[in-house]
Symmetry: C2
Subunit: 254 residues, 2 copies
């Protein structure tokens, strides 16, 4: 008998044992069959990175009715790519990243491995959505996000998303969410990005730190504004990065 339940593929960049991925499984189990393929250790900040210079392995860590969980030695994008090649018995109906421990709004979309998994989904033409909570704590409270996550996934399963697009959904760290806002990616930058340490006297090593600087704080349309004001920020993201407005000007250069 063919299985007609929606198939939900999940990954993240915090690793397979993170609380955020457990919360996501719990919120979504009633909606379909779930396959998780997630990194065997934290892989935050790897963006859309893939493993080219080393081999990748995966292993089943849990099998239950309607739920299979695998850990993978690769990046989040590797996890998505490898799932299609190995463990999926049919095309997934949706690919979900998260729930991420920490904010993936603004320019973090470029650095986030969780967003990488979801951009990979959009490249493959699968409706894809990333969920992130503005709380890096390993024991962060994902409960307030639950009803929103479930509602959004139901809507995406029902309506789909246009080809080559995905959603970047961020939750502020508040108990009472004010509702959702459809947002633009905020213009911003990381500053004071490094802490330096003496290493064998003469030389130094550097560890990434940094503070986020919002360069457009008054703009009520962007995702940082929504988060700072207690709203769930939904930012639609496109795979096509062409700067179309610049094309005609460039044609005059040559």
């Amino acid at each position: 008998m063919e299985n007609n339940k929606p198939l939900i593929l999940i990954s993240n960049d915090d690793g397979v044992i993170s609380k955020g991925i457990s919360a996501l499984i719990r919120f979504l189990r009633p909606l379909g069959d779930i396959v998780v393929m997630a990194p065997d250790a934290p892989r935050s900040g790897v963006g859309c990175g893939v493993s080219i210079h080393e081999p990748v392995l995966y292993q089943m860590v849990r099998k239950d009715v309607g739920l299979s969980v695998y850990k993978c030695s690769g990046t989040p994008v590797d996890c998505i790519k490898l799932s299609f090649y190995t463990v999926l018995d049919r095309q997934p109906d949706i690919i979900i990243g998260g729930i991420n421990h920490g904010d993936n709004s603004s320019v973090n979309v470029h650095y986030s491995g969780t967003m990488g998994a979801v951009i990979e989904g959009a490249i493959r033409g699968i409706p894809s959505v990333a969920f992130s909570l503005c709380d890096h704590d390993a024991d962060a409270d994902f409960e307030p996000a639950g009803p929103f996550v479930r509602d959004m996934v139901e809507k995406i399963l029902e309506r789909g998303l246009p080809a080559h697009t995905c959603l970047n959904v961020n939750f502020p760290k508040v108990k009472d969410l004010k509702g959702v806002r459809i947002c633009e990616q905020t213009k911003g930058i990381w500053v004071n990005e490094w802490e330096s340490f003496a290493h064998r006297g003469d030389s130094q090593f550097f560890w990434m730190a940094g503070e986020y600087q919002n360069n457009d704080p008054e703009n009520e349309n962007n995702d940082q504004w929504a988060l700072n004001n207690g709203y769930v920020a939904i930012t639609p993201i496109q795979v096509d990065m062409t700067a179309r407005e610049l094309m005609s000007e460039l044609k005059n250069w040559f």
Copy 2:
């Protein structure tokens, strides 16, 4: 006396000893002072990845009049970020990635570490451009690209680029380039992405391989078409990935 020469910051993902970076230095030395900060080993496919879970080190490998070369243990984006924190004595006038050994057109913009360096430049508001040659060979012939690289860098130094944009320039592997075309990012996907190997009898490991599949081959406006027809493909890229056309539809969802 203040130095008024343009300052050119270079990185790549093939590593500091690659032929492509040497070619770039040679082509551009007449145009300004050059600082290179590039990975100490190949880092292809790391996208916009940054090092969060381990420290980063750098070391000078060459110092000459108007040229300083450093190797760095991190990713290409780390290289750019760390340069600003450590070795640059003033704001660079341009950030350049490459010349990459291999094609960074189409969806490769997401996976490429060389594009990562240049997207980081655009995030920081510096005019930035990546150059790539459709030839993975370590001994690839970069000479035909030389006059185009120099002309484009001169134009960018003179005219700048709009904020939050950068250029992704790809060269086909031909001796006689037909000219340049201003392009869109091609819609495509990687297929047959893994080779699997037996590992201790029962289990397997996987090594990334794959073939690129062009999903829009007849479109004369895209970068793959330009490359397949002997043209230099210039694709303007924007940091803002917001899918604006989807925003109004999504507002109806809630």
